[in-house]
Symmetry: C2
Subunit: 550 residues, 2 copies
């Protein structure tokens, strides 16, 4: 009989046991409590094609191996895979547990001897960075004597290793088992991201790494690093070190040095995760002004400067010189082909108050349309970034304002109600641009109850449009803005809520059974906990291995 990799007891009485105490004055959310295990065990996100038989094999800790197949194009020199083998060996057998080999174990005729990994493409990608066009597919066959994981590239192999580790479960004696299984898998969307904000609160490197590790467990492949914003500028720029010297919360303890950034990018690469930095302008730049004089627009109170500053000053040549040098640096520090340029929420009040800006508006013939001034700035910025050979992502306002964009630009949709964001997705894709959805996945927005269900139900292709338009939907991102999160609470707030988004972006569109999802996700969250990640509970329940921190 099939058993979940991580046991979770589902509570029959739970629906009746939880109604009142918390209720009585607020509407109740829908509470899903699965009555039984999923036939897919604890697989999360659910692979595209899965067949699991009832035949099971034991795995012997001391002899089980994960190794390169003879015909694999990736050999022992492929550190990326070797590191992954070690990581998943530890996850499967428990890094700290010591077992004593028993006679039974050594000679078990029903045992699985190992997992061989076969990379079929002549160029496996060991030294490369993942990209939006990377092949992430894999096939996994679990059968005696040896399981086989087959993938064109290392990226698919990484996902396949995670999937294999999710198939392994403990029987009642603590022995590791895996069922005969056949899986063929690939992601539904190419861009599956998590946005973290290190400006509103500084996030220690350790916290970022732990969340990259967890992203890999959920097959996310983009870390959208909203690295700077109004409150602080923690990015230590080699070209403009005064930006963090003056603009970070603290110039030494609350900055990301070049070494930190490099480590984060490499840690992500080893897990198949792209790092896309966001340097948001011309708004959201208060902290930039502290270390770079004349960058922000001086606001006026009547005829005199008020002493406060607005968005980036779009009328000075020095602004564009600065941006050229900064984005030149960014383009070398961050290897990904894309950079996120922000462009959201530009407040025109300050520009309107400034007489120099008014004069410039006249000269340019913009009239009173400050949207034109914004577009003027963005257009020049896009040209600068294009000259660094990078593609760009921008928040939807830039598209809404009619700025001329390169054909490969990604438009990031984040605003409005369900109806509004669906209309926006339709509009963006009918204009021929690629679209990325975040509106329904603002995970900083918390609510009482099982809000993961709402995140799970949202679908980025649910809008009125042609098949061609639907193909332009490149994926989505779960966003955790930083007003109310820092190292103390970020990880449990993100997981397993982001896991709901992960499945929506990876699995087939038809995977929508909320009860089955509840069962698998409960087990998946217990697995994250067992791996040391404080992922919060979905509902009354327990894990065999509870979190050990406080």
């Amino acid at each position: 009989m099939f058993a979940a990799a991580t046991k979770v007891v589902f509570l029959l009485g739970a629906l009746s046991s939880c109604r009142g105490r918390r209720g009585d004055f607020i509407d109740e959310g829908v509470e899903v409590v699965a009555q039984q295990s999923s036939k897919f065990g604890s697989l999360w996100p659910l692979p595209q094609n899965v067949q699991i038989s009832e035949v099971s094999f034991k795995l012997a800790r001391d002899t089980f191996q994960i190794f390169d197949a003879k015909l694999s194009s990736a050999g022992p020199s492929c550190s990326l895979l070797q590191n992954a083998y070690r990581r998943y060996y530890d996850y499967i057998f428990g890094g700290l547990k010591k077992t004593w080999p028993s006679k039974h174990e050594w000679s078990d005729p029903a045992g699985l001897m190992g997992l061989q990994v076969l990379i079929t493409d002549p160029e496996p990608g060991c030294e490369q960075y993942p990209s939006v066009t990377a092949d992430e597919s894999y096939q996994l066959f679990v059968d005696q004597p040896m399981a086989v994981l087959k993938a064109p590239k290392v990226w698919g192999a990484l996902h396949g290793l995670e999937t294999f580790s999710q198939l392994v479960y403990e029987d009642e004696f603590g022995a590791k088992n895996v069922n005969m299984t056949s899986i063929s898998d690939f992601p539904r969307f190419a861009h599956r991201g998590v946005l973290l904000d290190s400006s509103r609160h500084f996030l220690p490197v350790k916290v970022i790494l732990a969340n990259l590790e967890t992203m890999a467990m959920n097959k996310f492949n983009v870390f959208h690093w909203h690295i700077v914003d109004d409150p602080s500028f923690p990015y230590l720029s080699r070209t403009f070190p005064q930006l963090s010297q003056k603009g970070a919360y603290h110039p030494y303890t609350h900055v990301y040095t070049p070494a930190d950034v490099k480590m984060i990018i490499e840690f992500a690469r080893l897990r198949g995760i792209r790092v896309i930095p966001e340097f948001d302008t011309p708004g959201h730049t208060q902290s930039w002004g502290k270390g770079q004089s004349d960058l922000l627009t001086p606001c006026f109170a009547g005829p005199k400067p008020s002493g406060s500053f607005g968005p980036v000053n779009p009328i000075l040549n020095t602004t564009y010189d600065f941006m050229s040098r900064l984005f030149q640096e960014i383009s070398t520090v961050f290897p990904d082909a894309y950079v996120h340029l922000g462009g959201d929420e530009v407040d025109f009040t300050c520009w309107k108050s400034n007489p120099d800006v008014q004069r410039f508006m006249e000269q340019q013939g913009f009239g009173q349309d400050y949207g034109k001034l914004e577009s003027f700035y963005i257009q020049r910025l896009l040209d600068i970034v294009a000259s660094t050979k990078k593609g760009y992502m921008i928040w939807q306002e830039v598209f809404d304002n009619g700025v001329k964009l390169k054909a490969d630009t990604l438009i990031h949709v984040w605003k409005g109600t369900q109806q509004q964001y669906q209309n926006e997705m339709a509009k963006v894709t009918s204009s021929g641009y690629q679209a990325l959805l975040s509106t329904p996945w603002y995970l900083n927005r918390i609510a009482y109850g099982q809000d993961w269900q709402g995140h799970y139900k949202a679908d980025p292709q649910d809008f009125q449009g042609t098949d061609e338009q639907k193909k332009l939907v490149i994926g989505g991102e779960a966003c955790l803005w930083g007003e109310y999160v820092d190292a103390t609470n970020l990880t449990p707030r993100l997981w397993p809520r982001a896991s709901a988004v992960a499945e929506r972006l990876w699995s087939a569109k038809t995977v929508t059974d909320i009860n089955d999802a509840y069962s698998r996700l409960s087990s998946h969250r217990c697995r994250m906990v067992e791996r040391g990640i404080p992922a919060e509970p979905l509902f009354s329940s327990y894990c065999p291995y509870e979190y050990k921190g406080i």
Copy 2:
């Protein structure tokens, strides 16, 4: 000049930097961002009378002492105080930091040599348990050469030590300073509690201890331990070990042994915290039925038992025998004078379905009024508990149903809207009973934004009533029900949100300045973080010492 004990930078630009990204589709909560430090530094909860001068003294790590005054009634044999001295010395100077004594430090003429602690009552209370009538007052005078903390009992001294530690701050060179200060302090309410629920999720002992420690930092004095409920029965009873053997999530890893319970009670006692266990009946008892047959009412589907069970069976003598023996044990295991008997949310459906219960109703002449049957049960239970010489707390339904109660019963108000709970407080107190408020402080109910402000504004004495009635308000409790919290997220969800309740229950009714509270609470939360507690942030900001976990 006065400086906050823990530095927090308040963000001038924050109001403008946070509006849109999160907003646009949901109403914004009120965002308070203090523009400057409070004149009360980081004191939390605010003492009743405080005078802080601008004169400051340095504290030398290697020579500063906390010690018993010669005339104190508590000497070296008072372990409770000695332990507290050590604890607060560590908090003040940082347990792990090593400093090198400098000439300057040793000979600083402006230094404070130590803190002497004077217990004035002939019976200091070192070996006692705290109680609802305990004197928690203290006076604190900080001046050269020696600060003096004066309190009738050790309970006041514990609070005074916390207050003293909150007065100490680091100057820009890292030296410890304290300003000349005079404080006279006492709590507004005698019962200041936190409810934790160890049934819906098991809470490891370590997590409970960490939260008791944090309660002491906030001058809470009651741990309301909602130890068992429908989902699980983790209390290991010596008399009925099968209750946890069958009813816990796991009989070994998810139970509280007698040794665990004893340790928790002693840990709490050393911090002036009472432990009041709740054994909630007759509803909320599904897990009880697993280890005690015939305790719960068999539900019927038509003429036959359905296989499911309802509330405790009130018509059997064996039920009352069981309760007598269980509460006999509880009365010896838990030293506090009170036990919480629950009594909330009794669902009559199952009782109504059962023909034996129907027959009993007829015999007793209860007609169709199942409220009378509930009262019948509760009445007998109260008699049982009274015979163990314990007082009791009960949820408001028991009072609403007109059950006869002992004069010293505490009625715990938890239901309804603001208007409804205020009416209930009026009704309870006009009947001459003591009332305890929790309705506005259900901290499991999360919402986006600074919801601590709502918790802060609620006042348990805000209802229509006489002065006599107001005096019957004994305090309140912050409740964190366990559906959505376990070890992964409990601590940051509770703190600093519960701190808002702590100040409401300790400080004068007039302490309501939300900007001043924001400033002090931000610093207080950074202090909790520095002490190793993952208390979550109030808003965009940073702490000099960030949380080191993930």
